[in-house]
């Protein structure tokens, strides 16, 4: 069929049982139309001016001034700060302060990976001590090495792929899937909007580090609680707490679990995936 246009397909039950269909799929037969890609919003605004297609003769001295209003992201939120890449910009053409026309422009923004020094600096800045709470008596140091290794494990310390789109989890093919992992620390939607984590590498690093820190705290708190119930249970070492944290980061479950007598710790038999993940980062 030829576009642009709309068509209907009737899947006729044809006097049989019930009509079922599992998928509808579309392919363009003569290759993709090249879409313009814009590296920043000012170019998108420029495109907005172009597409308004103002013709005719202007009076001398009249200034064409597009008013860049907002960018609407995939989840519908508005972000005037330029952190959102997708999808539409609304520009209004003003002549001498008066609105004349408005149009919505679709565009892609492509991301660039930060320089190595810049990323390392950001990763270093989020390391420090993670303490238990509420009283903060026990702490575990999150070294730069751990944070770097975690970023390396998750994404190869890469926020964007070669084509400028965010790094996705291995099972995803669509950037616009509402679920899935994004960017350097592979943050997913359970932590809120993934748009900013997908496109803003600094937010991704900050949030990923915070997740690790929270995981360390969760480990300390958990051990504290267990030892209060079972005084014979020894404390974990800093390394073991970090193993717990890395395992939680990946699988949500602990690396170490108490033995049956509650006088020692054994590798959690129910979490081989999380343990393997932690061992890969912190052998």
């Amino acid at each position: 069929m030829k576009g642009p246009g709309r068509y209907l397909v009737r899947i006729n039950r044809n006097y049989s049982f019930n009509t079922i269909v599992s998928a509808v799929m579309i392919d363009k037969m003569q290759g993709l139309t090249e879409k313009p890609e814009y590296a920043d919003h000012s170019l998108a605004a420029q495109k907005a001016i172009d597409t308004l297609n103002v013709t005719g003769t202007s009076a001398p001295g009249v200034k064409f001034q597009p008013k860049f209003e907002k960018i609407i992201g995939e989840t519908g939120e508005t972000s005037p700060g330029g952190t959102v890449s997708e999808c539409r910009a609304i520009a209004t053409l003003q002549i001498d302060g008066k609105d004349y026309a408005s149009d919505t422009i679709k565009f892609h923004v492509r991301g660039k990976n930060p320089a190595a020094d810049e990323l390392n600096k950001a990763l270093t800045s989020v390391t420090g001590k993670a303490r238990e709470y509420p009283n903060g008596m026990r702490s575990v140091t999150m070294s730069e090495t751990i944070v770097q290794a975690l970023a390396q494990k998750e994404s190869g310390k890469t926020q964007f792929r070669r084509d400028g789109t965010p790094v996705l989890g291995v099972s995803q093919v669509s950037l616009w899937a509402k679920r899935g992992d994004r960017g350097i620390f592979q943050i997913n939607a359970q932590w809120g909007s993934i748009t900013s984590y997908a496109w803003n590498w600094k937010e991704n690093v900050a949030f990923g580090s915070r997740l690790l820190e929270n995981a360390v705290r969760q480990s300390i708190q958990s051990v504290f609680n267990r030892r209060r119930a079972h005084p014979t249970l020894p404390d974990l070492t800093d390394k073991q707490h970090l193993q717990n944290a890395l395992s939680i980061f990946n699988s949500g479950d602990y690396y170490w679990s108490p033995n049956k007598k509650y006088d020692g710790w054994i590798p959690n038999p129910n979490n081989p995936i999380g343990r393997a993940y932690a061992d890969a980062i912190l052998p």
């Binding site: 209907l8 039950r13 009509t19 392919d27």
Partner: protein, 608 residues
């Protein structure tokens, strides 16, 4: 002529060697006594070893052995003269796959088996050899195989047209729409005594091919677009042809979704006869004004007599007395006297088998293949070995070799020929006008592994996030897909979003890249809540596409198609121009169409 009924006892078939066999026997007794078929004062019995199989093909070989094709369970051979011995062949023995949708025996005694997505396999009496689309038939899915009585050529009906293997030249020839066929989807093939080939298409009527020295001239026979309103009439009742039977006297019979079509040799017209459910279909069809289209008085007064058990005719076979045996989808089977145009079996038969194949030969029992109830054998005559001369085939040739040679694989076209073809394609400068559509074909091989092959611009995995879908797509390219239920429905019915298996490794289920595994889900029109005589509700899909020529693909998988009424699914896909009013769209012209049935294996239908 009303016949009496009997129940069947299978005690003579007890395999007494193992307890397991006894259990099977007891189960068989239960099944048979509850579902045994009665043909007059004759009896039917079930073949125990294949009692629950889906029989898809039946034929005799030149030695009189019965070859039985099944869905998922390979091929079985029944040697009636050797203590009813059954032998099974599957992929382990070298077949292409374990689905045998067609079987034929050629003049040399070789057995040709048509597969789901592996072309054909040929058995020479010793081993199997598979011929795929690279070295054999043109399509991977085979629907029927038949041999020409004139020159013994083997003809194969596939999803991409007809393939012909010349016994004389050992060469393959292919016939598609490019050669004049009305459609590539050939469901069934038959020959008359002159060698004229009759190809029943899945939804484009009958193609009749006159075979000349170096090519075939095709003529079409198609029905009116609308369903006929009478219980009998002129022409063929519909274009959905399921089987062809050519009688010994030259009469031609077509099994269709809307009854039986009959052509008398020497006559000047086709006639049709409908099933008992025709009037219900008439009443429950979707129409704008009911009062203007009443049933004809002829239909109202005579419909109780001489109607088939059911409109849907699945298969046909003629016996030596000229009786036509007719298989149905939900009502079992019956006999029809073509001379007097009378149905010979009582309409109150208790059997509701889905009959897939009927096979009858002189002095042999009637074999009845069913979908899900295995193979039935009617003891209308005492079974005995049927020799090849009685079934119209040449006796097994006397040769020095014990086993005949395999057919010659098809030759790859030389590079020069390919280059010429490519140049011809590139030189095509025709335009593709707007508001047109073409049916491209079907794909039985890809099954659930669609990523990268289909939906590169947009894909909707129906209901995988029920009550929503998973859209695997770039949303800003201008594509949009929306599902809906049709205008002819009951109350406030709506489109169902149904997840059948939350997670599965079945390769026939589509992989869902958003969740990272396969999930069987689909849109469903809730048709199970309506009579099978009701027109609708149907699933309607609105598709919006941006500039350019677009390819639209639909994936169907009858995942529960071996259970209950799910076996009956048989759809028509109709591409139409867009309108906001589905009632108008219902009656709007069809731009392209295709039929979807027998999709237990899952396959893709493609429009452009």
């Amino acid at each position: 002529m009303r016949q009496e009924s009997h129940m069947t006892d299978l005690r003579s078939n007890i395999p007494a060697n193992t307890s397991a066999a006894i259990f099977i026997f007891l189960l068989s007794i239960c099944l048979t006594t509850s579902a045994g078929s009665n043909i007059g004062n004759e009896q039917t019995e079930k073949m125990q070893e294949i009692s629950n199989k889906f029989i898809t093909a039946l034929t005799y070989d030149n030695k009189g052995q019965l070859w039985i094709g099944t869905e998922d369970d390979g091929v079985w051979v029944l040697n009636e003269s050797n203590n009813q011995k059954l032998t099974q062949f599957t992929t382990k023995e070298g077949m292409g796959d374990d689905n045998a949708y067609a079987i034929a025996c050629d003049r040399l005694g070789r057995i040709w088996v048509g597969h789901l997505n592996h072309g054909v396999s040929v058995y020479n009496g010793q081993t199997w050899t598979n011929y795929s689309i690279l070295n054999g038939p043109v399509g991977e899915r085979v629907f029927d195989i038949a041999t020409s009585p004139k020159n013994d050529d083997v003809w194969i009906a596939t999803s991409i047209g007809l393939s012909r293997y010349s016994m004389k030249e050992n060469e393959w020839t292919y016939y598609t729409r490019a050669n004049g066929l009305p459609s590539d989807q050939i469901q069934t093939i038959a020959f008359d005594q002159n060698g004229t080939v009759y190809a029943g298409t899945q939804c484009d009527g009958l193609a009749i091919g006159t075979i000349l020295e170096d090519h075939v001239i095709w003529r079409y026979l198609q029905s009116e677009e609308a369903m006929p309103l009478n219980w009998r009439g002129r022409g063929i009742p519909c274009n959905l042809i399921n089987d062809i039977c050519i009688g010994k006297n030259g009469d031609i019979y077509l099994a269709t979704n809307l009854g039986l079509a009959i052509y008398r040799k020497g006559g000047n017209a086709w006639n049709c006869i409908r099933g008992k459910d025709f009037s219900d279909k008439h009443k429950m069809r979707f129409r704008s004004d009911v009062s203007k289209q009443p049933l004809s008085s002829d239909s109202q007064t005579k419909r109780s007599a001489n109607l088939l058990l059911e409109d849907y005719v699945t298969c046909l076979a003629e016996d030596e007395s000229g009786l036509l045996w007719i298989g149905h989808r939900t009502k079992g089977f019956e006999a029809f006297d073509p001379v007097n145009k009378t149905v010979l079996l009582p309409p109150d038969t208790k059997d509701n088998f889905f009959i897939s194949r009927l096979l009858v030969a002189k002095n042999s029992p009637l074999f009845i293949g069913t979908c899900g109830n295995g193979l039935l054998r009617s003891s209308r005559n005492k079974p005995r070995r049927t020799v090849s001369s009685e079934i119209g085939a040449t006796p097994f040739p006397e040769t020095n070799e014990k086993y005949p040679a395999f057919p010659t694989p098809s030759k790859y076209p030389p590079m020069q020929e390919i280059a010429l073809m490519m140049a011809k394609i590139k030189s095509c400068s025709g335009t593709f006008p707007k508001d047109t559509g073409v049916y491209l074909g079907e794909d039985w091989t890809t099954q659930g592994d669609w990523v990268g092959r289909y939906g590169r611009q947009y894909a909707v995995l129906c209901a995988t996030d029920s009550p929503r879908n998973h859209d695997v797509a770039f949303f800003d390219l201008g594509y949009r897909i929306k599902g809906d239920i049709g205008p002819h429905l009951s109350g406030h019915d709506g489109l169902r979003h149904w997840i059948h298996w939350l997670r599965t490794d079945n390769p026939r289920t589509l992989y869902d890249p958003i969740i990272g595994y396969r999930r069987q889900a689909e849109w469903d029109d809730h048709g199970e809540a309506y009579s099978t005589s009701f027109e609708g509700p149907d699933v309607w899909v609105t598709i919006e596409v941006p500039e350019g020529i677009q390819r639209i693909s639909f994936y169907f998988f009858n995942k529960d198609g071996h259970e209950g009424a799910n076996r009956y699914r048989d759809f028509l896909l109709e591409l139409k121009n867009y309108t906001t009013d589905l009632k108008k769209a219902h009656f709007a012209p069809v731009l392209a169409h295709t039929r979807v049935h027998d999709f237990w294996a899952g396959f893709t239908r493609v429009f452009s």
